[in-house]
């Protein structure tokens, strides 16, 4: 039999004191799924955590403490802590997106400072054979490969279009305006 938890909204939180479980419904417009996962994960050492989706845009979280038979106060405490963790996870997701640049800069510098340059032995063992980076501007592509005509003829034999007849500016081999750095 379910019963409300003192101080918590009855349409959101319900406890089953007999079974020692508590369940509450979360609106995913307020708390994204990633936050629900993040908060749920924190509890799996001391609770059995079950997630369900009773309706679109809703997630129901059921928590059953592993040890003992919790009373109403204990369940209230668990729900409260979960709610706080959920809020922290949701907000943290936003903050890290907003501050991504500075977080990346600091952690990159910290790692680079700690690691230092690789030794010759480490360079010798590094695998350079894989395609390790994307090349959206085609910088690593040779001019010949880039401008080879479709019929296989050598592109260097073709005159560049004149400014008077071409509606497009002559494209530089690098595809860009030069080094901005």
């Amino acid at each position: 039999m379910t019963s409300p938890i003192a101080g918590l909204p009855t349409d959101v939180v319900q406890a089953d004191l007999g079974a020692g479980t508590v369940a509450f419904t979360i609106d995913t417009a307020t708390y994204p799924l990633e936050a629900v996962y993040g908060a749920s994960y924190i509890f799996i050492d001391r609770c059995f955590v079950l997630l369900d989706r009773p309706a679109d845009g809703k997630i129901r979280v059921s928590l059953a403490p592993k040890k003992g038979v919790p009373d109403a106060d204990a369940l209230r405490s668990i729900v409260g802590e979960f709610g706080n963790e959920l809020l922290g996870c949701a907000w943290r997701a936003q903050i890290t997106q907003q501050n991504r640049a500075v977080i990346e800069a600091l952690t990159t510098q910290a790692l680079a400072g700690a690691m230092g340059p690789p030794s010759l032995d480490e360079l010798a063992s590094f695998d350079f054979t894989e395609e390790s980076f994307e090349d959206p501007l085609g910088i690593a592509t040779s001019w010949e490969d880039k401008y080879k005509k479709k019929d296989g003829k050598d592109a260097t034999a073709t005159a560049a279009p004149s400014a008077a007849t071409s509606s497009q500016p002559a494209e530089s081999p690098t595809g860009g305006k030069g080094d901005a750095a």
Binding site: L33, E34, Y37, G38, S40, Y41, I44, F48, V49, L50, L51, D52, R53, I59, A64, K66
Partner: protein
């Protein structure tokens, strides 16, 4: 017997499979699918043991799902 219903939007199917494998020797498990849920029937020697197995299996599947970046 406990029937554990794990929503497909929230649990990765492979995570559920893996969880069942991990706990296989502790009980009897039967897997089935419903339109919205992965269903795991859990049987063991006592109701308390079944509760514990179902709970730990659910946690394990959740943990794996989180580790793998979500249900999809």
């Amino acid at each position: 017997m406990i029937e554990l219903r794990l929503h497909r939007d929230l649990y990765r199917g492979t995570a559920v499979d893996e969880a069942v494998k991990v706990f296989a020797r502790h009980g009897t498990f039967a897997l089935s699918e419903q339109p919205e849920h992965w269903v795991v029937r859990v049987e063991s020697k006592t109701p308390a043991r079944e509760r514990q197995l179902a709970g730990e299996l659910g946690n394990y599947a959740l943990g794996l799902t989180v580790k793998q970046g979500g249900a999809t």
